[in-house]
């Protein structure tokens, strides 16, 4: 027997190393996508930081080209700078928030854009590997200002601080500034980037976003309100959504003495009665010490938790839907809808899938102002936890609902009706179909809620459309009489050798007698579009 020729080496890699090797997973797959992904990650962090303390975000974003684009690679080096008025980051956390993958403040159970403690760091990492320049983070929680210049030690998933300066904060500034170098292709990412900002402004009508692009163009997305949605509350997990590992960890760290108290304390909506009933159902003695549960017991409990029917519905206070008012403000503003256009927003009651609460908000818009922009087909806007989803539309459950589940002709919508449809899904766990986080899986519960929401609105849409058809018809009628009666008068007079044609005004008035009624109906139309149940 001979030894194998090939020598096999075994090694372990750090999380940052993993993302360094697999950056396409996080959206940094090519130069044009990279700019888009970087803006998205940093902007979302800023919005999260403002919304968590209910401050209307004021965000300044600037991208500057510093080396002219490389003709061969079609990419250039840019400086990306973003400033916000959010919470700021306590100095001691700054290096790790931007220099260590899987470090963050959003691991608790409440709705936020960020979840994994990944986006900010991977952006910094991408900038570093393409330009070998440090990132600059300036932040203050309202006291002194901290300025860091740092890089990531990729091999060990840890920050390397190059410079840390503490500055006086005379004006009491609070917020965060991030500035980094990265390689990308702005020209090719431009349209998606603009679309992303526009749609962000649509779901965040209280945000004020300024963007200066590499060509020096200024884009302003002004806020239309300073009302903010109610912030989400952190909740305890719901038993339906628990998995074996989480339960094991919870039992290991819990300080209570028995399983009954454990259930009451660790989970939402579980009282004395429910705890007893459930443990009985699961076949676990309520007096058992959580720490003494065997691995088999843990598995048994998780299974039972999924089957037990008497838990309360998951608590939706961890969600922060926009609300009908705000969503319609946002859509109206970004689509430049007028009062005469149809816009109706509807928020469904909270629902759940696999123990995770979710809320669907939907809107449909239709009107003259739209037909000019979006010719023909239905325009779909998709949002998840206030993040616009821009890619892979046709793989998304929203697309499926719009194109398969709903028979639009029953709502008098024809193929070339310029409809705009918006769907916002809020959840502590968005059912993304892939790691790309660009489209929603067809989770049956979610699909049903979206379908119901759109059908509900579509009923009003039908009313609007049929009144408009009626109105158009009535106008056409009048038009026809105005066109032909004068000619009948003219030629009858000529035929009868009369010097003047007879007066047709009384006849036209008779036709127009129905006008006020029609006009009243038209005036009602915006109400159809706006009134909520």
């Amino acid at each position: 027997m001979t030894k194998p020729e090939v020598e096999i080496t075994y090694q372990s890699i750090s999380p940052s190393d993993f993302f360094y090797r697999n950056r396409e997973i996080a959206g940094f797959s090519n130069p044009s996508r990279a700019i888009y992904a970087a803006v998205r990650e940093l902007l979302e962090n800023s919005l999260d930081a403002c919304e968590s303390i209910s401050i209307p975000p004021k965000i300044y974003l600037r991208i500057t080209e510093i080396t002219p684009s490389d003709a061969e690679r079609e990419s250039a080096v840019y400086v990306l700078r973003i400033e916000d008025n959010g919470t700021g980051i306590p100095s001691e956390h700054i290096p790790r928030c931007f220099g260590q993958v899987f470090y963050g403040s959003k691991y608790n159970l409440k709705q936020a854009r960020g979840t994994f403690g990944l986006g900010g760091t991977i952006t910094v990492l991408y900038g570093q590997i393409t330009t070998h320049k440090p990132v600059k983070v300036v932040s203050s929680t309202g006291v002194e200002i901290h300025e860091y210049e740092m890089m990531i030690d990729i091999e060990y998933n840890r920050p390397m601080i190059l410079r840390h300066t503490v500055l006086e904060n005379k004006k009491g500034w609070r917020g965060t500034i991030v500035e980094l170098h990265l390689e990308g292709d702005y020209t090719r990412s431009m349209s998606k980037l603009y679309e992303y900002l526009k749609q962000t402004a649509m779901v965040c009508p209280y945000a004020d976003i300024t963007f200066v692009d590499p060509k020096g163009r200024l884009y302003r997305f002004e806020s239309a309100t300073n009302v903010m949605p109610k912030p989400p509350k952190t909740v305890r997990p719901h038993p339906h959504g628990i998995d074996v590992e989480t339960l094991r960890r919870m039992t290991a760290t819990s300080k209570v003495k028995n399983m009954k108290l454990f259930m009451i304390e660790q989970f939402q909506g579980v009282g004395v009665m429910t705890a007893e009933k459930f443990l009985n159902f699961a076949g676990i003695d309520p007096k058992t010490d959580p720490k003494s549960l065997s691995p088999d017991d843990v598995v048994k409990l998780v299974r039972a938790a999924k089957e037990f029917k008497e838990f309360l519905r998951p608590d939706a206070s961890c969600l922060s839907p926009l609300g009908e008012e705000l969503l319609s403000t946002g859509i109206r503003k970004e689509l430049n809808l007028t009062e005469k256009d149809f816009l109706r927003v509807y928020q469904r009651h909270p629902s759940t899938y696999s123990g995770f609460p979710f809320i669907v908000e939907a809107a449909i818009a239709l009107g003259r102002s739209l037909s000019k922009n979006e010719e023909g087909s239905k325009m779909i806007y998709r949002f998840a936890n206030r993040i616009p989803l821009l890619f892979d539309e046709s793989s998304c459950v929203v697309w499926k609902v719009v194109n398969k589940n709903i028979n639009w002709s029953t709502y008098k919508v024809s193929n070339d009706t310029p409809l705009v449809i918006a769907v916002h899904l809020c959840s502590t766990k968005i059912p993304y179909k892939s790691v790309g986080k660009e489209f929603l899986a067809d989770q049956p519960e979610v699909e049903k809620e979206i379908t119901n929401a759109l059908r509900h609105i579509a009923r009003y849409l039908r009313l609007y459309i049929s009144r408009n058809i009626r109105l158009a018809k009535e106008k056409r009628r009048l038009n026809v009489f105005e066109k032909f009666l004068p000619k009948i008068a003219e030629f009858s007079a000529k035929l009868a050798d009369k010097p003047e044609p007879p007066d047709i005004k009384p006849l036209l008035n008779a036709v127009g007698a129905e006008l006020p009624e029609v006009e009243r109906k038209i005036r009602e139309v915006p109400q159809i579009a706006g009134e909520n149940d």
Partner: protein
């Protein structure tokens, strides 16, 4: 004599103008009375076209329709109707004639009421005929198709510039075109004692060359296929006023049969008009039995021909024995023959043998 005829045609024109003016007054008054203008006329829908076996012609029944300008679907044709009436009055006033096609084009300048196609304008003209109960020739609108007449008939023109001018219809060897001028002329005198109507121009020319008009003492008319209404009017006038028998000579196929029948009994399309049919006229050939008797060269009947024959068989105008016999024979032999078929017996055979024999029989 001369004075009288001109006054007669003047009278007709005046009465037509009066009818049009009355129509204008009617609508003018309706509007002044704050009423949406409307007109009543006989319905031309299929269920109101009835065969009158007495006069052997299709006529309109009692059903009336109302064209109402209050009706959004009617107002455009209604406006076109008034415009057409005005146009007709202008024609009469200016003493001009026009054609169906010209009417269609004349509306082109009129925004919103211009006709989409000639079928639309033809229809409106038929409306006007129905409403006024007068053929369009009375308001100087003629068809495009032109047929011709030849033979010893002296006519006197009434059209402007030719008033009182006379002409003998043998003057031109190609025949004289049956146009508005001829249609409105007076028939002064003739030595002929019959009318021979031929479906085809080529055969007409042959008959002129063979001096058939002299040999049969006849006026020759060629219809150029299905005969235009002005030609039918002339045939009818010759038969009625000059008491001349009329003989029709067509191809031996269903289409030829029907050309003869329309001259005799009128068409469904003109059920709203009288004075176009000549019930006394006779179809003398080419019969199906002639095909057998004269052993003519034939072609097979097509499916299309057979279908048409079946339709004719059911048509009330064809109830009489001669027609039924010939239709049945056509169906039985499955053959048809053209007028030219006789040339197998030499170019003059038709004049020398066939026609004399058939006229004899008739």
């Amino acid at each position: 004599m001369q004075e009288k005829t001109i006054r007669e045609s003047d009278k007709q024109r005046e009465s037509m103008e009066r009818a049009l003016k009355t129509l204008g007054n009617l609508i003018y008054d309706q509007i002044t009375n704050r009423e949406f203008p409307w007109i009543m006329m006989q319905s031309r829908s299929m269920d109101n076209i009835i065969y009158d076996s007495e006069i052997k012609q299709y006529v309109l029944g009692d059903k009336m329709v109302r064209r109402h300008s209050r009706n959004i679907a009617h107002i455009r044709p209604f406006t076109q109707f008034i415009w057409t009436a005005w146009f007709a009055r202008e024609l009469l006033r200016l003493r001009k004639t026009s054609t169906l096609r010209e009417v269609y084009y004349s509306a082109r300048g009129q925004r919103d009421i211009e006709f989409k196609n000639q079928t639309e304008s033809d229809n409106i003209i038929t409306d006007l005929e129905t409403a006024l109960n007068r053929p369009r020739e009375d308001f100087n609108v003629y068809p495009e198709e032109r047929s011709a007449i030849f033979g010893d008939l002296t006519i006197e023109y009434t059209v402007p510039g030719y008033e009182g001018k006379r002409m003998n219809l043998t003057e031109h060897p190609d025949g004289v075109m049956i146009g508005p001028a001829l249609t409105s002329s007076e028939f002064i005198e003739t030595s002929a004692d019959k009318v021979l109507v031929i479906e085809k121009g080529a055969m007409f020319t042959r008959l002129v060359e063979e001096r058939a008009h002299e040999r049969f003492n006849a006026l020759l008319i060629h219809t150029a296929g299905q005969s235009p209404r002005s030609t039918r009017t002339i045939i009818q006038r010759l038969c009625r006023d000059k008491k001349m028998p009329v003989y029709i000579f067509t191809d031996g196929d269903p289409w030829g049969i029907h050309i003869a029948m329309v001259i005799i009994s009128g068409s469904i399309n003109a059920a709203h008009l009288r004075g176009l049919a000549t019930p006394e006229a006779k179809w003398i050939g080419v019969w199906a039995t002639d095909i057998i008797n004269y052993d003519l060269p034939t072609e097979n009947l097509t499916d299309f021909d057979l279908k048409r024959l079946k339709e004719l068989k059911e048509d009330p105008r064809y109830r009489e024995e001669l027609w039924q016999r010939e239709i049945n024979t056509f169906m039985k032999i499955g053959k048809k023959a053209e007028l030219e078929a006789f040339s197998r017996y030499g170019l003059t055979y038709i004049v020398d043998e066939y026609l004399p024999a058939k006229l004899e029989l008739a």
